[in-house]
């Protein structure tokens, strides 16, 4: 397995610790003038999101994680998962609903998603940061709502995502959404 020394570890690299993949959050060099040098490394577990801190002696080796990232197009939903196609190889795979989790609400046909593999198995699906989609359900904006300070109202999009939109946006309109925060960004002109 490929490895790097702790001095070479940089933010964003993916390493393997105790058989689990981790993303490097930060790496601080700590050294008393005449003493042993250490690297205090902050890592985020790519399977469960937990962040840990670990100190290594400088110069020790850390294994690089066997991580692959590809772009895959969403094709259709099945009973317990969703089918994606690799944009380069046209290979198709089914990703379980369990693994998709909250991201099921962002699935749209023909959109390419970032799919992360660890040792050949999918561990994460990341939707594009901004997506455009139609509002399929919302109550009409009521005059006077702004005066009470309520400038947002709940809405459901064509993908099933529940978001908050300004009261002037109506059913059937297309909006741009930030998938990281579920926040409305802007109206999209047809």
């Amino acid at each position: 397995m490929a490895s790097i020394t702790t001095n070479e570890v940089r933010t964003g690299m993916k390493v393997e610790v105790e058989n689990e993949p981790y993303l490097i959050v930060s790496n601080e060099f700590v050294k008393p003038g005449k003493g042993q040098a250490f690297n205090r490394i902050k890592l985020k577990n790519m399977l469960n999101g937990r962040v840990i801190e670990r100190t290594y002696k400088s110069g020790e080796k850390i294994d690089l994680a066997d991580i692959e990232e590809t772009h895959m197009r969403f094709l259709y939903k099945e009973a317990d998962g969703a089918v994606f196609m690799d944009e380069k190889t046209f290979d198709q795979i089914t990703i379980s609903n369990e693994l998709l989790g909250n991201n099921q609400q962002w699935l749209m046909e023909e959109v390419a998603y970032q799919v992360i593999f660890y040792k050949g198995a999918v561990i994460e699906v990341i939707p594009p940061t901004f997506m455009e989609m139609r509002i399929t359900e919302t109550s009409p904006g009521v005059r006077g709502d702004t005066a009470s300070g309520r400038v947002l109202k709940p809405a459901t999009t064509e993908t099933g995502a529940k978001i908050q939109i300004p009261i002037f946006v109506e059913e059937g309109e297309k909006v741009k959404v930030d998938t990281r925060t579920c926040e409305y960004v802007s109206r999209v002109n047809p």
Binding site: F29, K31, G35, F38
Partner: protein, 309 residues
């Protein structure tokens, strides 16, 4: 671009430092940074360079060896204010090239040297309260342990979340020092740490104090940052040879290259090396604290901070 105000203050502080030494009749010596022999320290790595096609040289990690050779020639009190180089030291508080102020005082006692070093730091930080603690005291005060008798299991308990494969007892103590003790040192003023254990003596004299062997070495901290390292200088060549060979053994054990001893240095020490104390101060760190900055890259132009790589 790099702020002009910092560049101007950096220039002013270099001048004030030189005036500090001139007022005390300490002579500036401008030693070559490129040296033929690697300074020997198991925890400090040296950059080697091709001086000619056939000959290898090293960038000095401190001017200590050259300055001590000059001391043996009878030059008197001397200082160096210039750049030194350390391989692999890159971080918020480290740059592989940094400015060091190092000076030697003949017939000074260690307390006199500490006093003068504090005065030097006051140039940068203003006058501060000074607290003196022994190496033993910092471990008992901040961790409640006696560093000489604490068991390896107790030490392991402090580092249970770390990757401790191949850690020696000394590694654990350095880990505790850098992670749990140093952040407390010099919170308000200056903390001077004295009475280092003999195995941390480096090039300092070891003496007996209260039936315990201690190294006549000190370090000074401000706001958790180590600023200086000073010694009552050891001139016993036999002792130095054995310490250097121990450092080389440790280097080999951790997979590093062993270096030849600098015979010119050892010969110089044998002849007329005066009783003296010496200290080195990290100029950039002092400047960083003076400007209340978080990283050296804010006071040192063209720094190798990790984001610039």
């Amino acid at each position: 671009m790099f702020p002009a105000s910092i560049l101007k203050d950096r220039a002013a502080m270099l001048q004030r430092a030189r005036s500090f030494f001139a007022e005390r009749n300490i002579l500036e010596v401008d030693c070559c940074a490129l040296v033929p022999r690697a300074p020997l320290d198991s925890n400090i790595d040296v950059m080697s360079v091709a001086v000619t096609e056939q000959q290898r040289g090293f960038l000095h990690t401190s001017p200590e060896i050259s300055m001590k050779r000059l001391l043996s020639s009878g030059i008197g009190d001397i200082y160096y204010l210039g750049h030194v180089f350390r391989k692999g030291e890159i971080g918020r508080k480290h740059n592989p090239e940094f400015t060091m102020a190092e000076w030697y005082r003949l017939d000074f006692s260690l307390p006199q040297m500490i006093e003068e070093t504090c005065q030097f730091l006051f140039l940068f930080l203003g006058t501060l309260d000074v607290e003196v603690l022994t190496y033993r005291e910092i471990f008992s005060r901040y961790l409640g342990i006696d560093y000489t008798s604490v068991s390896l299991d107790e030490l392991k308990a402090f580092a249970k979340d770390e990757n401790t494969t191949h850690w020696s007892r000394t590694n654990y103590l350095h880990f505790l020092l850098s992670h749990f003790i140093e952040p407390h040192l010099g919170k308000e003023g200056l903390t001077v740490v004295i009475d280092y254990p003999p195995y941390e003596a480096a090039l300092a004299v070891v003496t007996e104090k209260n039936e315990e062997k201690v190294a006549q070495r000190f370090e000074i901290y401000h706001q958790g940052i180590e600023l200086t390292n000073g010694y009552q200088e050891l001139s016993d060549v036999k002792e130095l040879r054995s310490r250097f060979s121990a450092e080389n053994k440790e280097r080999l054990a951790s997979g590093k290259e062993a270096y030849l001893l600098d015979e010119n240095f050892l010969v110089a020490l044998e002849n007329n090396f005066p009783p003296c104390c010496g200290v080195s101060v990290g100029f950039d760190r002092a400047l960083m604290l003076r400007h209340k900055k978080q990283s050296l890259s804010e006071v040192l132009p063209f720094c190798w901070s990790p984001s610039n790589l």
